[in-house]
Symmetry: C2
Subunit: 351 residues, 2 copies
């Protein structure tokens, strides 16, 4: 019998503290039959565990002493706070003690720590943060969401290829369509970056390039993957989150403006709850850091128990699918187009 | 007795055709006591007018023969289709026959036509499209929304100054707060453009610079004005519009999933209607083209009668306030900082 996979969890990350992370991690351990390593302040974690049923669950605690805060400078914090839960969880993956790590803490620090500890995948210039956003029909993978603010055009092609592999192996979308975020659908619309990237994407073998998409196409779910620079992606993600917040604020105000409305909305409470859950950007799953030679999943700072559980599921699936190796292979194929010319059809180029 | 101001309206613009534009224009003529000049296909406009009560309303029709379509190349269309409703309405402003123009047609063509016909205001390198977006507490002015995709940092300062003047004289916000859209609130967050623009805005006298804002701050209404490049602004606007559409889709699906829910939501129909109206990006008012030496207001392609009426109101107010002259004066003040040093306090620098 082989031992179950181990996932390292930064128990101190997230706005809601260790209780929420520990509860989510226990649910994940039970649901996926995995071993969970909880990194952080040992008394706090033990206290959280004490309140829960841990019978038959594979969970261990690794005590750490340093604390990386949300407002710490990412790279400095990673360098100075070696005994933080965030750094130790990444190190556990590097050392082979865990297959992947999850943190809802300082996302810049997860990125900096992963980059320093795992290094980049060969052929990838800049790792990207990818995440789902909710759509009319389900969800869309968007990358980058803030790792690379001024990429060169070729880096957007790397993002497209990494998104393709993630989508195929973690999300089971065999041949995902890829859109380039721009200020208009026409190929001639865009800024200097996207005009050049559009051309490169059109020439990239083995991808289903849809062309330019607009901001509205993210929530409308026009494509499976939206590729953009980290500055624009971050603005789009946060604008969508803020707009959802605005809508619920207006809905609440409208529904509480009279007794009749209050009564009618009581009947609809389950409908509103389900709506909120479908639009909860924190719950749609963890955001993988793609392009580093190890598996790190960033969970939303506002993650609740369910979001942590989902992020651990994503970490498990990414490690089972050997994502870094698959990305390395895909990048290698795409950057040796000679193979295409030698009689191999484009659609055979996908790994 | 002086004659009432005249507003030129492109009656052929917009997704819903001349009927909607004509109806909105008649409402505006009545509401504001102005003279409206309707440009476009004369039989179509007369037919629309024939269905309405025009008693006591100052309205005239100017027949035109060319037709600029939504998918026409803006600059080419303006150059070739001289007798289109869009070009003729702009020309009427230039010739002094109207104080301002409104079009819900091809926005690129309105921009190209205004730029060619009016020219730029001295000191402005690139005109910008500004528009409101709905917020929790009211609305926020965002610019640019697509006119300038790759601005230099100094151009974002011009946008801030133009937004300030528009906000002060058209929206009656005496001292509006100005945020720079970025991927994080900290001054160190941003891409090369915003990092440089942040520094310039900090040093600009006579503005209330809030610092960086994130995408979520647009719908949350953190500041009065959000300054950004046209690429990012366009993505943010369309992401917000699409997210609102997504929300209403999910709401509709949830509320029609059972008979009980359908009945309860019947009672709440007025609440949902009011919510939709507060979130209608087409209705929040016309988008002024700032930085050209004449007044042109771009209405949303999806404009209904009320949106057209609102856009004409914005056109009237902008012309009454001599917006181009005020912008020229403000730009002159801001770019001659010597006046600041000579003992004039910064807060006296605003015109």
């Amino acid at each position: 019998m082989t031992s179950p996979p181990t996932i390292a969890v930064d128990a101190m990350g997230g706005d809601h503290g260790p209780n929420v992370v520990v509860t989510g991690a226990l649910s994940a351990a039970r649901r996926f039959g995995i071993h969970v390593l909880l990194f952080g302040n040992e008394p706090a974690i033990q206290a959280a565990l004490g309140q829960r049923d841990t019978e038959g669950v594979l969970v261990d605690v690794v005590g750490t002493t340093d604390d990386i805060r949300m407002d710490d400078h990412p790279a400095q914090a990673v360098r100075r706070k070696r005994d933080s839960s965030l750094v130790r969880a990444i190190q556990a993956v590097k050392d082979g003690d865990a297959a992947a790590m999850v943190s809802a803490g300082n996302s810049g620090a997860v990125m900096a720590g992963s980059l320093m500890t795992f290094g980049r995948i060969e052929g990838i210039d800049r790792p990207a943060i990818a995440s789902y956003m909710p759509t009319v029909s389900g969800r869309v993978l968007v990358l980058d969401l803030g790792a690379v603010t001024d990429p060169k055009p070729a880096i957007l092609v790397q993002f497209a290829l990494m998104g393709q592999i993630y989508s195929r192996y973690v999300l089971d979308v065999a041949n995902p369509s890829i859109g380039l975020l721009s200020n208009g659908e026409e190929p001639g619309k865009g800024n200097q970056l996207t005009l050049a990237a559009h051309q490169l994407l059109k020439e990239t073998p083995g991808i289903r390039f849809h062309g330019n998409v607009e901001g509205k196409d993210i929530p409308l779910g026009t494509v499976d993957i939206v590729v953009t620079d980290g500055f624009t992606g971050n603005v789009a993600l946060k604008t969508a989150e803020g707009t959802a917040t605005l809508l619920f604020e207006i809905l609440r105000a409208e529904l509480s403006s009279s007794v009749l409305r209050k009564l009618a909305s009581l009947l609809l409470r389950p409908a509103f709850r389900s709506m909120r859950s479908r639009l909860d950007y924190a719950e749609v799953g963890g955001a993988p850091l793609l392009g580093v030679a190890g598996t790190a999943i960033i969970a939303h700072g506002r993650s609740n128990e369910r979001a942590i559980e989902n992020a651990i599921g994503v970490a498990l699936r990414s490690s089972e699918q050997h994502l870094p190796a698959r990305i390395a292979e895909r990048i290698g194929t795409a950057t040796h187009p000679a193979a295409v010319i030698n009689g191999v059809p484009t659609n055979r180029l996908s790994i």
